[in-house]
């Protein structure tokens, strides 16, 4: 099996474009959440907050590529371009068949779907339908658009597992390179904001709305006053490469993926179960060949829902006790859904590089039901070599990645 390393990263987030503003804002404790008054237009929808991407001009992408892209694909191609640039990879490597894509989204574009049905239902037919609408609606829209924009000719995969999407994408990309099937994999996810996304959580009473007047105080992972998810948008992309290839090219190595697990939780379509979260983390550790005490930091999924945070903290305690620092970036970023795994992993890589622990934003008073684990509540330095990154999705799709600083061994 080949070793798999990270040689490039790209981000489009509520902090704008780039990994540097993402990491800088997380370290500064800045919230990416703002008031979203337009949500008032949806009857029965309670949230008025969101994490929206600022400052993107889609016109930098030529029309012939852009015409089949909704915002999620635009975010994704920009993040991919950043990752490729950092990895010093260009058109030749993209076209050579050794680069693949594993990038997904929760759904195809809801905005494009809405426009399709508005048109279809008002005209009663398809005569007004533009040729490119379907390419925005299809679930593999991001992966397909990235392939065309960058000229990538290797494997193409578009996992779709909501909040676990990009964690799974990274895991599958890691396995493809480990098996020697691809030399490079662009992995991650993207999602664009639509009112129906917080709507889906609000229907389940899992969306935050008690802090509508104080957007930056929500979401509140593990906090006693947490009241649910805040939906955000963006794209996180990580360029995975075989260690052999990275060494041969002489490019900087940002980290190494050493373990992955994804498991199905058959108990409930909606409620996460601590036993299956623990199983997922344990199997990722087994894949990495590590014991729990060898993990220096846990990046929790922790979205700020009552049940999700409780189940995850219970699972972490069962496997790691209270010896390993835990934080979640959802308090800063909100929930970027299919992008969250890769966006948050970009920041974990930054933490490994800077040897610091980024705290959970808005964790002011740890809920008694979550207080048995070691929460990070202040920015501090720590010797970090290994970390585990969790993501869990509605539908019962758990995923965990184990990462470590690159050691030239």
């Amino acid at each position: 099996m080949k070793r798999v390393v990270i040689t490039g990263m790209g981000a489009v987030s509520p902090y704008g474009r780039g990994v540097a503003p993402l990491l800088g804002s997380l370290i500064e404790g800045k919230s990416g959440i703002a008031r979203a008054d337009e949500l008032a237009e949806i009857q029965g929808l309670r949230p008025r907050v969101a994490g929206l991407v600022p400052g993107i001009d889609p016109r930098e992408i030529p029309r012939k590529y852009r015409r089949s892209m909704s915002n999620m694909s635009i975010f994704a191609v920009l993040a991919c371009s950043e990752a490729l640039h950092q990895a010093d990879l260009g058109t030749e490597e993209c076209a050579g068949g050794q680069m693949g894509i594993a990038i997904g989204s929760t759904t195809g574009s809801i905005q494009a779907t809405q426009e399709f049905f508005e048109n279809f239902l008002s005209t009663g037919g398809l005569e007004q339908m533009k040729s490119t609408v379907f390419f925005k609606i299809m679930n593999h829209s991001c992966a397909a658009n990235i392939s065309k924009f960058l000229g990538i000719s290797g494997r193409i995969l578009s996992p779709s597992a909501a909040c676990s999407t990009s964690c799974q994408a990274l895991g599958y990309g890691y396995e493809m390179i480990a098996f020697g099937r691809q030399q490079y994999m662009l992995c991650g996810g993207a999602d664009e904001f639509h009112a129906l996304t917080p709507g889906a959580f609000d229907v389940l009473n899992a969306a935050s709305f008690k802090f509508n007047e104080q957007p930056q105080r929500t979401p509140r992972p593990f906090d006693r006053d947490r009241d649910g998810v805040v939906c955000s948008e963006g794209s996180g992309i990580i360029l995975l490469e075989s260690l052999d290839s990275a060494r041969k090219r002489g490019v900087p190595i940002l980290g190494e993926i050493i373990g992955f697990s994804t498991v199905s939780d058959p108990k409930s379509i909606a409620n996460p179960d601590a036993d299956f979260i623990e199983l997922c983390m344990r199997e990722a550790l087994n894949d990495a060949g590590l014991e729990p005490q060898q993990i220096d930091y846990i990046n929790a999924h922790a979205t700020g829902t009552v049940q999700g945070d409780l189940a995850e903290s219970a699972a972490i305690f069962k496997l790691f006790g209270n010896n390993t620092p835990v934080s979640s970036f959802k308090g800063h970023l909100g929930h970027t859904l299919a992008a969250s795994g890769a966006l948050e992993l970009c920041a974990v890589v930054g933490m490994l590089e800077r040897q610091c622990l980024i705290p959970t934003l808005n964790l002011d008073n740890v809920d008694v039901s979550c207080n048995h684990i070691q929460h990070v509540q202040l920015l501090r330095t720590k010797k970090l070599q290994t970390a585990i990154k969790n993501n869990f999705a509605l539908g019962g799709v758990n995923s965990s990645l184990v990462i470590r600083s690159y050691q030239n061994d």
Binding site: R63, K64, R67, E127, Q128, M129, K130, S131, T132
Partner: protein
């Protein structure tokens, strides 16, 4: 509408839809080679022209013979004239 108004509306509609420079909207401009449109764009061109001129042209046989912007001008003018007669 006069022929001149029809041509202006065609040029404006297509330049907006396909982000073309109005200076390039010359009758001799070839749709594929000069304006850089492709088969997907042709589908959308039919939709935007139908909306702009309130007619149906998708099933017209003569549309397949169009090669240049001038052919589009001629096609639409003829279609509008036919509509006016009928």
């Amino acid at each position: 509408m006069t022929d001149h108004e029809i041509i202006d509306l065609i040029n404006l509609t297509l330049s907006e839809e396909f982000e073309l420079d109005m200076e390039d909207m010359k009758p001799e401009a070839l749709i594929f080679d000069d304006l850089d449109l492709d088969s997907l764009d042709i589908v959308d061109m039919v939709v935007v022209l139908e909306n702009a001129f309130h007619f149906k042209i998708r099933e017209e046989e003569s549309i397949r013979k169009i090669r240049s912007l001038g052919d589009i001008h001629e096609f639409v003018i003829n279609k509008k004239n036919q509509s006016a007669i009928s």
